[in-house]
Symmetry: C7
Subunit: 99 residues, 7 copies
């Protein structure tokens, strides 16, 4: 399965951007055409190996695989997995979860 192919390192998260798809319309959140910073809707595909606190303990992620999230368009790295564009971001770059 394609989704299992890539394991992000540390506090990074693998996302599949949802651009101009039905899912975005159904979620009810539409990115405006004008404003300075326009977030992007995306689906969480894989969580990183975990962010460590000062004592080396793993800190739990605040999102889970399958969550629909908003991310900033600036930042992150773009890769293609099985010909589909994906984005790798740090968890702190995720603005919030669409419930």
């Amino acid at each position: 399965m394609a989704k299992a192919k890539f394991k992000p390192l540390g506090d990074r998260i693998l996302l599949k951007p949802l651009e101009d798809t039905k899912e975005q319309v159904r979620g009810g959140i539409i990115i405006p055409d004008s404003a300075k910073e326009k977030p992007q809707e995306a689906e969480v595909i894989a969580l990183g190996t975990g962010k460590k606190d000062e004592n080396g303990k793993s800190v739990p992620f605040e999102v889970k695989v399958g969550d629909k999230v908003l991310i900033s368009k600036y930042g992150g790295s773009e890769v293609k997995i099985d010909d589909v564009k994906h984005t790798i971001v740090r968890e702190d770059d995720i603005l919030g979860v669409i419930a």
Copy 2:
């Protein structure tokens, strides 16, 4: 309900800007047309999942849903929810609460 649709991550807060509306006039605070940095009046719609301190404990927010606040016009991300412009900011970007 639209307001329940989006859960900001961490110390972020979802706001609905109040621009040129009656509410702004009633609040008695008018943004000047001239000066260098002009704050913007907004209503708190949803609080984030919580800012963590060094021990991983959740720190309470200083604002609550429904508060009228002033934020800097610079910073934050803009999204449309049910066709209404919203702004996602970190709590530290909120200048204060209009009582």
Copy 3:
């Protein structure tokens, strides 16, 4: 009362700038017309909800409501309350108190 209308967040302080008024002349401090950074005289109108130290304890402010202070002209956000220009600054941006 207008002064009670706005509660600054965290270590922020609401000030009313004193520009070209009798109070400024009486205070005996005159801002020079030339130099690189010219501070501005202002009156403390409202203190923030409080700066927190690392343990979450509230740290007392070093100024109090009614103090005449000098602030840097750069930095801070400008708002109008009851048609009077006010400035919101962080306490660390206050240079000192005029006794």
Copy 4:
């Protein structure tokens, strides 16, 4: 053996980039031609002497020799070992592991 010739210092890692080779195709991840930041596939050749935490204890690496990883194209230093291009990066510059 060429791979044993260079020991990276601290949290650095020696990588051999996989550019336009069969291995990259078999891995199923293709770097897009367009987007702002394009990661690069690479193989882990040698781990550094180890990242130290505040108490001077060595922290284990999250990758191992032989792992296929994605790295940002920006950052890192390029050297030739036995006429083959290699890259030296810090572990935090590795985006994730291709499983």
Copy 5:
């Protein structure tokens, strides 16, 4: 007395610059006309309310009222007190004391 009129906040210090005066000549330190950064001789007029360490304890100042010091010409804020130019600096901006 004019000198008592202004109390600097925190680790700030109120200074009276000594420019082209007899005092500067007597001190034996002459600022060169050429070089990149030219410090300025000044007299300490008032100490701040005190720099706090991490535990909130007050840290003693390394200069005292009446000291002749050298400061960088860049940095600091300039005010006029009783028609005399003064400068407000942080203690760390003082290069040293002229004995």
Copy 6:
């Protein structure tokens, strides 16, 4: 002996760059002519007085006198000792050791 003439301060290290010499060829690592950042081969001539941790304890260096190392070409200060070019770098600027 020339090598004993200079003692670097703190975590600094004195290096003698190996440019276009037999030693560089024998080491088997050749710096490419093209890429963005090209490291440089060098020999460790003298270690600094030691990096201190937070408790003031000396932390051991990860390289020793005589090691062949790779350093970034950017950073460091260049001096001539007995007419031979040397470079002073911080240990963290050393990419790794050539075994």
Copy 7:
């Protein structure tokens, strides 16, 4: 005595640059005419009042009065004492001691 006239504050050090003098030649270290950053030979004239660690304890300097040192040409402040150019630097700006 001129050298006793100035006491640097904190971790600062007063130096007398040695430019084009016999001492520099005898020291055997010659600054190259070409390279990017050219250090400068200087003599330690006076130590600061002391760098403090987190607990407020004074940390000993690694150089002493009379040492010949190399400093970066960039950084530091230049003053004239008894008509002789001097430089005030922080100890961390000293590259090393010429033995």
